[in-house]
């Protein structure tokens, strides 16, 4: 076994229930701590993942339980790549249509920040809709 092997491809999945998202977060934190990510990077990855998974449950599955949400964590020393996949409805165009602006704070918004936060925190982002469902790819540089 190559002791220097430093790349990982970890697959996680939960049911489409908001109360299971914290378990996913715990798993990501455990992975990040094991890989010695900084608290800053790990917090940013967790926020991106949680916002993306909340969007899946709310929009792709319309808050219906009993559906799978998959998260793939691809790690290399240079980068963490998260792929959030589901088999639900296509995401609304306003969620993935180009760069997202945050809502105006003066309007006292109570939501609508999710994709804006992901865009602000990710180094790259890509949304794919195919026959199997939705796939959101987000990357975070570690160097």
């Amino acid at each position: 076994m190559d002791g220097n092997y430093k790349e990982y491809n970890i697959r996680l999945s939960i049911d489409s229930r908001l109360e299971q998202v914290r378990v996913l977060s715990g798993a990501l934190r455990g992975i990040g701590q094991e890989l010695q990510l900084t608290d800053d990077k790990l917090g940013q990855l967790e926020l991106m993942m949680v916002e993306a998974v909340n969007n899946v449950i709310e929009h792709a599955y319309q808050l219906q339980e009993g559906n799978d949400v998959h998260v793939r964590v691809e790690y290399s020393p240079q980068e963490v790549h998260l792929i959030i996949s589901d088999h639900g409805h296509a995401m609304p165009d306003e969620l993935h249509g180009g760069v997202r602006d945050m809502p105006d704070p003066e309007d006292l918004p109570e939501g609508g920040w999710g994709m804006g936060l992901i865009h602000a925190l990710a180094d790259s982002i890509r949304y794919i809709r195919d026959a199997r469902g939705n796939h959101l790819h987000v990357s975070k540089q570690l160097a």
Partner: protein
């Protein structure tokens, strides 16, 4: 959701005892603090120093509380650090909330 309350003069300090504020907690957070306000505690310091993670649904609950309080009282958010403080900055909502680094700083600001 677990939180504790204490009073300092006419301020009510509500300390969140959860490490995580997320989409599950958000409705409870809103209901509990709104109830506190409706019970006559109109000047509230929400101490989130123990919170290590917050998502945008909890931020939305705080905005909702800010609207409930309106100009009938105060809602001060204290102790945001790390990714929680980043959430307020990235969304620019730190401009809308009255925020202090600690409860003591909130008490000093109110006394000044």
């Amino acid at each position: 959701m677990q939180f504790s309350t204490r009073t300092e003069g006419d301020l009510t300090i509500a300390t969140i005892l959860e490490a995580r504020m997320d989409a599950v907690i958000a409705p409870e957070l809103k209901n509990h603090i709104a109830q506190l306000f409706n019970d006559g505690n109109t000047r509230i310091v929400l101490d989130i120093s123990a919170v290590t993670f917050m998502d945008s649904s909890s931020l939305g609950a705080l905005v909702s509380l800010l609207k409930i309080v309106g100009n009938r009282g105060d809602l001060i958010i204290s102790g945001a650090t790390g990714i929680v403080a980043d959430l307020f900055k990235l969304t620019r909502m730190e401009r809308v909330f009255r925020m202090t680094p600690s409860v003591n700083a909130a008490l000093e600001a109110v006394a000044a």
